[in-house]
């Protein structure tokens, strides 16, 4: 083995990629050749310097990535089901649907159809005699205008005339009882108004007292899992407290505890889950204790485990 071949083999030697015979020959050469021994030392120093650069992603970053991934997969769920569902083997029908509780129902694109729903209901409200069973306490037109453009009028018009284009938003006030289906549909649509978290919060806050209604409960599950605003998610969770024994609700709560980026929401999820403690929770809570980086959430989980006479650690 000469110096030229040793130079090429030093990186492989360092990373343990040489066959044993070559390794022996190279070590013999290094013992006898100071120049090559310096190269090997240089390789070691390079490695030491590079080791200091290594970055371990934080647990928070990993949790965010997992959360984002699952959200992205939620959005793809419908086509994925069509693609992957084997006709006779259950598959996504049982597995995926179980993983995303009643997804087909409560993840329907209410948000996208909010305007349509509002338009439809509003049209019914304004139609003659449409008041039906609910009381139209007030239907007050209030037009808000904004100017879109101002330009000279058509040539045939007299000199000095202008044309002003106005955009008009018609405001109406509708009131009725929450258990009225039309009012409820308006509220469900409002709870998905993606541009206004205040409206979503108010809608969820009002609807949560009607969680005995299936559409409302589905909405609450949807908002808990999907709403970008933690205040709305907390309100939705609060509305589900009477159903914390329900397996579908528990699945979403478990998901929230593992993946929600807001510690307050995670704490509320622990409390809701422990209201109906069962043995299945032990593993979940132990897993959270292991990876959770928020002290309060971790303590709450440890306390819940202690209350269940379970160990906080895994062995």
């Amino acid at each position: 083995m000469n110096c030229e071949s040793v130079t090429k083999l030093i990186p492989l030697y360092f990373y343990g990629e040489l066959p044993p015979d070559d390794e022996d020959s190279l070590e013999q050469h290094l013992d006898a050749c100071a120049a090559c021994a310096r190269q090997a030392e240089s390789q070691r120093a390079l490695s030491a310097a590079l080791d200091r650069r290594a970055t371990e992603p934080s647990a928070a970053l990993l949790a965010e990535c997992r959360h984002d991934l699952m959200r992205a997969i939620y959005r793809q769920e419908a086509p994925a089901m069509r693609r992957l569902q084997p006709p006779s083997r259950g598959g996504w029908n049982s597995g995926f649907a179980a993983w995303l509780p009643s997804l087909g129902a409560w993840r329907m694109p209410l948000g996208a159809s909010a305007l349509l729903a509002l338009g439809f209901v509003a049209a019914r409200l304004t139609a003659p005699g449409a008041a039906g069973s609910f009381s139209l306490a007030a239907l007050t037109p209030d037009v808000v205008s904004s100017i879109r453009s101002v330009q000279p009028a058509h040539e045939s018009a007299g000199a000095g005339e202008v044309q002003i284009v106005l955009d008009e938003t018609r405001r109406r006030v509708v009131s009725g009882r929450l258990n009225d289906s039309n009012i409820q549909r308006l509220m469900l649509a409002a709870a998905h108004d993606e541009n206004n978290p205040g409206v979503r919060w108010e809608s969820v806050d009002l609807l949560r007292s009607h969680s005995d209604s299936t559409p409302v409960r589905e909405l609450l599950l949807n908002r808990l899992a999907e709403d970008p605003n933690p205040g709305v998610r907390l309100k939705a969770l609060d509305g589900l407290k009477a159903y914390t024994g329900d397996p579908e609700v528990r699945k979403v709560l478990a998901r929230v505890l593992e993946d929600d980026d807001n510690p307050g929401v995670r704490i509320a999820a622990v409390d809701a889950l422990t209201a109906h403690a069962d043995d299945n929770m032990v593993g979940l809570l132990q897993g959270v204790v292991e990876k959770e980086n928020n002290t309060y959430v971790r303590r709450r989980c440890v306390k819940a485990l202690e209350d269940m006479n379970a160990s906080a650690g895994t062995f």
Binding site: K8, I10, P11, L12, Y13, F14, Y15, G16, E17, L18, E23, A40, S42, Q43, R44, A45, L46, S47, A49, L50, D51, R52, R53, A54, T55, E56, P57, L61, L62, E64, C65, R66, D68, L69, M70, A72, I73, Q76, A80, M81, R83, L84, Q85, P86, R89, G90, G91, W92, N93, S94, G95, F96, A98, W99, L100
Partner: protein, 205 residues
């Protein structure tokens, strides 16, 4: 002297879990199995992306794109290679695209200018003790800068081979398999990368 990297890749599946069984369950549509599969590998995938791209934002994008591709195409996985190799082909392809685009744009997003000079946003050279020792702090900054510069001088492929061998602890044969090349080509790539790195770091070593 031979070393395996501290961050050696390994699936974090419990020994009780049979990976092939898990993959078949995913192919049948078992979402819980998919999640278990993701969790077995996602930490090492994220570590690779963060170390390679030195940008949390880019690493997040790579993470999501890679696992979404797995989700969409797991039907086509035929057990011709290990799942780890298949997954890493996807991840390294995405990362190489990022590195190539960055080369074209001549970006190095991890390094930012500060009043004290260039600083690697993600470096961990500033240990607590270093704050009390300005000279050491300065040396660490300069070393970090030199390392980034030396790594920036590698081709995307050299960078990838080096990352997979040094930081991820993969064997060169496996690296060749992942990158669709021979073990010999991976060896040559590693040699070129280490030579460039040593030249780039010079007296800092």
């Amino acid at each position: 002297m031979a070393q395996d990297a501290p961050g050696a890749v390994g699936a974090r599946l419990s020994p009780k879990l049979d990976e092939a069984g898990l993959i078949r369950a995913v192919q049948r549509g078992d979402q819980d199995a998919f999640e278990q599969l993701v969790r077995a590998y996602d930490q090492s995938v994220l570590r690779l992306a963060v170390n390679l791209l030195r940008s949390q934002e880019d690493a997040r994008d790579v993470f999501q794109e890679a696992f979404l591709r797995v989700f969409r195409s797991i039907d086509s996985f035929r057990f011709d290679c290990s799942f780890h190799t298949w997954l890493y082909r996807i991840v390294t392809n995405i990362c190489l695209d990022y590195l190539r685009k960055r080369k074209v744009r001549k970006e190095e997003p991890a390094v930012v200018d500060t009043p004290e000079g260039p600083l690697d946003r993600m470096n961990d050279f500033e240990e607590e003790a270093a704050h009390a020792d300005p000279e050491r702090n300065m040396w660490n900054r300069q070393l970090g800068q030199r390392i980034e510069g030396a790594l920036g001088g590698l081709t995307p492929r050299e960078r990838m081979v080096f990352e997979l061998r040094h930081y991820q602890g993969l064997r060169l044969r496996n690296i060749g398999e992942i990158l669709g090349t021979s073990e010999e080509a991976a060896k040559n790539c590693l040699f070129r990368a280490t030579q460039k790195m040593r030249a780039g770091l010079g007296d800092f070593q």
